[in-house]
């Protein structure tokens, strides 16, 4: 996964921590976490990677959708 960039590796590390929660709840919590702690450029890259069809957990796709409209330009 690293070849796709560190953001996908890091978000997958986060997703497994929220696996006990329903997917929508998990996605919302993860999106909030990334908004609070990640540089906008990293969020952009994550969204771009998902948009480009990266092979990721479905929760990551939901996270990217939640982030997409809110991420400011890098």
């Amino acid at each position: 996964m690293d070849e796709l960039g560190p953001e996908l590796r890091m978000v997958s590390d986060i997703v497994v921590q929220f696996a006990h929660r329903p997917a929508d709840d998990a996605a919302a919590a993860i999106a909030a976490h990334l908004t609070r702690f990640w540089h906008p450029r990293m969020r952009h890259r994550l969204v771009a990677a998902v948009d480009a069809g990266a092979d990721v957990d479905p929760v990551v796709v939901r996270v990217a959708r939640m982030l997409s409209p809110a991420v400011p330009a890098p």
Binding site: Q17, A19, H20, M42, P74
Partner: protein, 945 residues
């Protein structure tokens, strides 16, 4: 002892109300029950002669110099061992007592060399003082060799690099032995022999260096004569003045008197003496703080700024003006070409609060971004996250003194006797008094079994399974009805969801036994002990935080403490043992890319407004880059310049190859440091820094205690570090000026509510304070969350155990965990430049005997240590402290470079690196590594090869 004397009351203080009234030499005095007559006299302003008594040690009653007369009592009792009684009438000065004391002194002096004028303790010798006080005018038995049998021909022990032991000057008061027992808790010294042959001995007749002595200096401090004397005093002579300041090593933050000779440019530090009034250390010290300050005057110090165009070029020494102008111009040029966000900075936990504050201000106001992070990223960032989520503030809950009230102490992923030795001694004292101990650590650290201490439970868990263990303990608490229901109902929230989660049988000790490697019965017993023994305190270190679930584990420990009501009073709490001297402070000062000072998120408009008005510039409301993000961004070309304040990221950060590649990719690296460290090898500008002896400011220790750091000597570089940062900001076009460091603290207090009562003047007046320190709480807050949590209600967090992605397999069958040892500090830049190398000249790899045997490795062999990301070579030490399948090393020496093998894995919430779990293989250096099967076959569970 110390020439620049602090009052010595002879015996320790007793707590309680001063209800016992007595009269000493006609002076009325009231003291708490249990106080000695000697101390009562001292409190009345009357000094009773003494030699074997000092107020850091319990009374011993051997010298018989402190005899007094007490109405109604037979004979002349020793005032040090006689407790006060109501109505007692004491006389300390009578003709009879004078005669007795002179008789005692005659015996001492008859077997003591009379070389006072040339003795290194001349003027600082209690024996000399007592000869004067008692009016000794003759020695009827003769003296020295004239007195017959004597001890004058005993040889000195000069094995220790920092102090000498001359038994010919010993008066057998046992203060050194008692200090080693009572204060340090090592019990390395003893009185060997009987009668006339009695002598102080380190261990079983060997030298100090051959013994268990840890060179804390407590014996030297306690010695009333020149028997135990600092070499620096022998070589330089007695100090003539002192400055109280704060140690710059670990997060304990000990106060010291820097005892000096000379003045101005000729000032010499003779010795560092632990300060009795220091709130963190109360007169104790360790080998680093007490003795290892020589690096400040080491010839390797860089004192003149240097620049170069390329890291392949030679350094060119330049003026401060040129260095600052060059740095500012390059930073602005890079921003012009690559954007405002292409540069950033890393602050240092070794620097003062004031120095850190100005760096984050430079980044936010002059750089115009939030790309500032701190080395706490790689140690205690999960503490900040976890305690903030659960309690509402990013700091430990207690003061150090709280441990004296603990009934059960749980040490998790920490090794206080090595990494926080002065606090370790406090803890051991409480354990010797009977507090029970739980240790959760893969290794058998010293606390597991040492003199008079044995852990009730050693949970030798597999590396990477902390969360499974803490969940299992919480499961026992919840399912066995051990929850403090009153506390939880009144003070916590999210209780139902958490209890439902934790009560799941999947979290039971039996269910996770296979994962953790700890017998379920041990976990159950430890949980019951923690929950039911009274005051239960958790102390933890990097063995908690430096994991892929570091933040989860911090929240898990907070859950356990809340569930059992162990928050908000003395003797309990959740206590991070911070690694470096100012980890707490560097975090408090807004070093994280998402937080302004005081842990307030950059998205909070009301907080930004405070700074925007004061700093006169708009601030970004989005988080900046963390350190690992900076490295990744350097490699992708979006991040181009880095200012590194007093931190050696090229040695201390994980996956050295990755870090070096990132640093090499940058257009500009600016390093501010004492030495040409490993990071400076990638630098284009080297700005010489100041040692702690030259700094003016404050450090904040692990108990939130803000201590003054006072300049002992002038800055050898000609500038304070905060001045350099301000001048760079100004050269970049952002006005930033302070007259002195006190003004910086004034700005911190003005803008940060938890520091609103802090100023240099206040600290100078009261000694130290623990934040929150406000006008309403000017003395600070030793214990937090007393009546309520900072966030209102304590929040239980659901903490699922998720195994690390790092797994052992056939190719890498062992798990490496890393740490530190007593004599060295962090990357060793300071301690390697002191005589501390006598104890640890190189990093070694500790291996269990079984793991060594199957690999054909003998003790002392050189071995190759290889992981998935790199390999290095170091010497093996066979150690039954290690469990099978786990090996251990330190990262104090760049030659071995332990972080060559550690990986990019990190804590999910904070990106704190997972230093504590790396799958490795160990082979004898002569073996062909190609012979190792390359097939990756994951074994079940981490840490068992």
């Amino acid at each position: 002892m110390s020439l620049l004397k602090e009052p010595d009351f002879g015996t320790p203080a007793r707590s309680g109300e001063a209800t016992v009234e007595l009269t000493v030499d006609g002076v009325a005095v009231a003291v708490p029950p249990g106080t000695s007559v000697m101390r009562a006299a001292a409190q009345a302003g009357l000094e009773v002669p003494k030699l074997c008594a000092t107020d850091s040690l319990e009374a011993f009653g051997s010298c018989r110099l402190c005899v007094v007369e007490i109405d109604g009592a037979r004979g002349t009792p020793a005032s040090c061992t006689t407790p006060v009684a109501p109505g007692m009438v004491v006389r300390t000065q009578t003709e009879k007592l004078g005669k007795l004391r002179r008789g005692v002194m005659e015996l001492y002096i008859s077997d003591h060399p009379l070389d006072c004028l040339t003795c290194s303790a001349n003027g600082d010798c209690e024996l000399q003082d007592m000869a004067g006080v008692t009016g000794l005018r003759e020695v009827r038995y003769g003296s020295g060799v004239d007195a017959g049998a004597n001890h004058m021909d005993l040889l000195s022990d000069t094995s220790n690099p920092y102090f000498e032991f001359d038994p010919a000057k010993c008066i057998l008061c046992s203060r050194c032995v008692r200090a080693c027992d009572e204060v340090q808790g090592t019990l390395a010294l003893t009185i060997e022999g009987r009668g006339f042959d009695s002598k102080v001995s380190p261990g079983a007749g060997g030298t100090f260096m051959e013994s268990d002595c840890v060179s804390c200096g407590a014996c030297v401090q306690a010695c009333p004569t020149a028997t135990l004397q600092e070499r620096s005093v022998v070589e330089l002579g007695m100090p003539t003045r002192s400055v109280v300041t704060t140690c710059a090593y670990c997060g304990v933050g000990c106060s010291f008197k820097a005892e000096l000779r000379g003045s101005g440019d000729s000032t010499e530090v003779v010795r560092m003496v632990p300060h009795k009034d220091g709130g963190a250390n109360e007169g104790h010290s360790c080998v680093k703080g007490r003795f290892a300050f020589g690096y400040a005057s080491h010839p390797d110090r860089v004192l003149t700024p240097r620049v170069r165009d390329s890291i392949a070029d030679e350094w060119r020494e330049v003026s401060w003006e040129e260095a600052i102008t060059h740095t500012a111009r390059r930073l602005r040029a890079i921003q012009a070409e690559h954007g405002a966000g292409a540069i950033g900075a890393i602050t240092s936990s070794r620097c003062t609060n004031e120095e850190v504050y100005v760096v984050q201000k430079m980044v936010r106001a002059a750089f115009g971004n939030n790309n500032v992070d701190t080395c706490a990223r790689v140690c205690h960032s999960p503490t900040g996250y976890g305690l903030n989520q659960t309690f509402g503030t990013s700091a430990g809950t207690q003061d150090f003194a709280s441990v004296a009230d603990a009934d059960v102490i749980m040490v998790i992923g920490a090794n206080p006797t090595d990494a926080h030795p002065v606090f370790g001694s406090r803890m051991k004292k409480r354990l010797r008094q009977g507090a029970r101990l739980i240790v959760a650590d893969p290794r058998s650290i010293d606390l597991v079994r040492s003199p008079h201490i044995e852990a009730a439970h050693h949970l030798a868990l597999n590396p990477g399974t902390n969360v499974a263990i803490v969940n299992a303990m919480a499961h026992v608490v919840v399912t066995e009805g051990l929850v403090d229901r009153g506390f939880v109902d009144a003070r916590c929230e999210n209780t139902g969801e958490w209890e439902e989660f934790i009560a799941d049988p999947a979290h039971s000790p039996e269910a996770v036994e296979e994962i953790t490697g700890v017998p379920a019965s041990d976990v159950r017993a430890a949980a019951r002990l923690y929950a039911t023994a009274g005051n239960a305190a958790i102390y933890y270190g990097l063995g908690v935080t430096e994991h892929s679930q570091g933040s989860t584990m911090v929240m898990g420990m907070a859950n356990l403490a809340m569930a059992t009501g162990n928050i908000g009073r003395s003797g309990v709490g959740v206590n991070p043992l911070r690694g470096q001297n100012n980890v707490q402070g560097s975090c408090d000062m807004g070093s994280f890319p998402h937080e302004l000072p005081g842990y307030r998120h950059v998205s909070d408009g009301s907080v930004r407004e405070v700074y925007e008005q004061l700093w006169g510039t708009p601030l970004l409301d989005e988080p900046g880059l963390r350190i690992p993000n900076m490295f990744d961004s350097a490699l992708d070309g979006s991040f181009r310049a880095l200012f590194v304040q007093g931190e050696d990221i090229a040695q201390s950060d994980p996956n050295t190859g990755h870090v070096h590649a990132a640093l090499a990719a940058l257009d500009l690296v600016v390093v501010q440091d004492l030495f040409v460290n490993e990071t400076a090898k990638f630098a284009h500008v080297l700005l010489p820094g100041t040692s702690f002896l030259e700094k003016d400011g404050t450090f904040t220790n692990a108990e939130r205690r803000i201590n003054r750091v006072r300049p002992v000597t002038a800055a050898r570089t000609g500038k304070q570090e905060w001045q350099i940062v301000c001048e760079i900001a100004q050269a970049m076009g952002y006005p930033m000026h302070y007259d002195d460091a006190a003004q910086i603290m004034d700005e911190i207090a003005l803008t940060t509510p938890t520091f609103s009562g802090v100023s240099f003047a206040h600290l100078d007046a009261v000694g130290s304070v623990q934040w929150p320190c406000t006008p309403e709480r000017p003395e600070g807050t030793p214990i937090m969350h007393v009546d309520g949590f900072v966030r209102g209600k304590g929040r239980f967090m659901v903490t699922p155990y998720v195994p690390t992605r790092e797994r052992s397999n056939r190719r890498f069958p062992l798990i490496l965990t890393t740490g530190r040892i007593l004599s060295q500090y962090n990357v060793g830049a300071q301690t390697r430049r002191t005589a501390n190398v006598a104890w640890h000249p190189e990093d070694v790899l500790e291996l269990h005997p079984h793991d060594a045997e199957v690999r054909g490795v003998a003790d002392g062999d050189r071995v190759e240590l290889a992981s998935r990301v790199g390999s290095t070579s170091l010497r093996a030490r066979i150690s039954d402290r290690m469990p099978v399948g786990v090996c251990y090393t330190t990262f104090h020496h760049p030659v071995s470079g332990a972080n060559v093998v550690t990986t990019d894995n990190s804590d999910w919430a904070t990106n704190c690196p997972e230093y504590k779990v790396t799958a490795v293989q160990v082979t004898p250096s002569t073996a062909l590594t190609a012979a190792v099967p390359a097939q990756e076959e994951t074994t079940v569970g981490a840490g068992r090869g």
